[in-house]
Symmetry: C2
Subunit: 321 residues, 2 copies
């Protein structure tokens, strides 16, 4: 049994390799829900959907979000109405959010709804939200990067919802703090702690350490459970040659006082990860990673094709010390 | 200035004639919201949308609901997911509900959102919900018409939401009672009572007396305001030759102890309507209507084309005693 701590696109690619490298029924993906939001009254879970769509073979490779071949009639009409059309929701993608919102209103838990949606879409691995309780990633922007007039649609630059930062502002504004509202009162979703305890191996996907893996660790109990399994926790660095392959992980690391390198990632993960997988481009930093106390595995980590995802997955299986 | 008390399709057709017969800016449509519901987390206002779409020239004449030429990708996907796809929402139609739900969540009133949507769609008359407060039409089914196993998706046949009756059960089940949950605590939307008081004429559209006009009358203050203007209240019978042109009005009248005829309508409306417009098919009943105490106007009321709607509208203007 393998547990994967997961964010969005990078995690989805690795999971797509893992399901080919082992029995998918033995995989539990514990997914960040700090990016979740309520918009138009709908509960939207971007990372869960990215993973489910990818594993169902229906993700849009051009965007990293949404369904391949989807249409955007609802959004076009919403834009005509002057509504909030900044967060792109395809017509078929909308069905996911309609389904989830209705089921939650009926009293189902987010983990139950997530399992239903994954099953309906033929996803064989277990997709589990980090928590059934609301945890919301919020950011304080660096005042130096905020124009005197503020940003349209952003009421308080010191308290910005994640998708406002990520989509509205296209993560192009410096950040000075990240927090996870509701985390201290949240509980891990049913089965998560038990799975971490019983797993043969725990993989931390190449997702943003601060805003994808960070919220999962902020759910009380999960970081401790990982620390108890430290020798079996293998993390994949999302930073390659100092840069994020996608998204703002490199800038966020620097802005929040970390080093944007595999070494910065190693220092963040050292308390609970036994191994760090770094790309061949970072081979020279392997000794420094080992000095931080992590076993350093140097392989090709850039999953530019399904074949490369499978190869990385195979290297991870049994990679623990 | 003209006030029109309105349900859905029949009202929309008459309003489409009225806006051609007079200055649309002088018309306020006070619209039934007893059919409103929350589904998929979205606030859906079927009668308001039917009227707005029709007046915007975008209604689907084949169905009476939704937008002409709309697509149904979201619903197709929702059906694949096993979700609640029984209430058809087109992709562009969805934008209306997304917009409304988001604005309500932001604190806007239903009347403010309704005005925004009407303005954005270029509708010149004032479309006003009967109330900004939630009023929900609920029905008790006649046990004789309910199979021993009940109906799928209907938890309690004694407490059925309007759209469950109207759409899920295709209004094919006898009803023994109708009530308007929340009506006693509701207030008329801003401006409604003032408009009734000041109007030159008040038209009651050919809508279902019990479940379209009934909820409007159940909002405290509206029936009294109409009664004070009784000589200027002109109602159009939705019953022609004993039958409803559309929907279950004829059966509901019988099931709830009324006569399914213009006479049944006259008796229901007599406390607050001065005139009843009946179709030429019911000319023989005009004396009986007059006996109930209403001035009876016999014209062609079947709005089978825009020209017929305009003709009826012209006959109504100045038709009061």
């Amino acid at each position: 049994v393998l547990v994967a701590i997961a964010g969005g696109v990078g995690a989805a690619r690795l999971l797509a390799g893992l399901v080919r490298a082992m029995d998918p029924a033995g995989i539990m993906a514990v997914v960040n829900t700090g990016d979740d939001m309520t918009l138009h009254g709908l509960h939207i879970s971007p990372d869960i959907d990215t993973i489910t769509y990818t594993l169902a073979g229906r993700s849009n490779p051009a965007t990293g979000w949404g369904l391949a071949g989807d249409t955007f009639s609802a959004m076009a009409e919403l834009a005509d109405l002057g509504g909030q059309a900044w967060f792109g929701l395809g017509d078929r993608d909308l069905a996911t959010h309609l389904y989830r919102t209705q089921r939650l209103a009926e009293g189902a838990s987010l983990s139950a709804v997530t399992a239903e949606l994954a099953a309906r879409r033929g996803v064989a691995l277990r997709v589990v939200p980090m928590s059934d309780d609301p945890v919301r990633t919020r950011l304080s922007l660096d005042p130096a990067g905020v124009p005197a007039t503020g940003f349209p649609g952003i009421a308080d630059p010191d308290d910005v919802a994640f998708q406002d930062y990520f989509v509205r502002l296209r993560h192009g504004v410096p950040v000075r703090a990240v927090r996870f509202d509701g985390a201290e009162r949240s509980r891990p979703a049913p089965g998560v702690l038990e799975a971490i305890e019983a797993a043969d191996e725990i993989v931390v996907c190449p997702s943003n350490p601060l805003v994808s893996i960070g919220p999962v660790l902020a759910v009380p109990g999960i970081a401790d459970a990982l620390a108890r399994r430290r020798p079996d926790v293998v993390a994949v660095s999302p930073i390659v040659a100092g840069q994020a392959l996608k998204g703002p992980a490199d800038r966020l690391l620097r802005e929040l006082g970390h080093e944007s390198s595999v070494l910065g990632v190693a220092r963040l993960y050292a308390p609970w990860a036994g191994s760090l997988v770094v790309d061949v481009a970072d081979a020279a930093l392997a000794p420094a990673v080992e000095e931080v106390g992590l076993h350093c595995i140097v392989v090709d980590t850039v999953m530019s094709s399904p074949g490369r995802s499978l190869e990385l997955a195979r290297r991870l299986l049994g990679a623990r010390r």
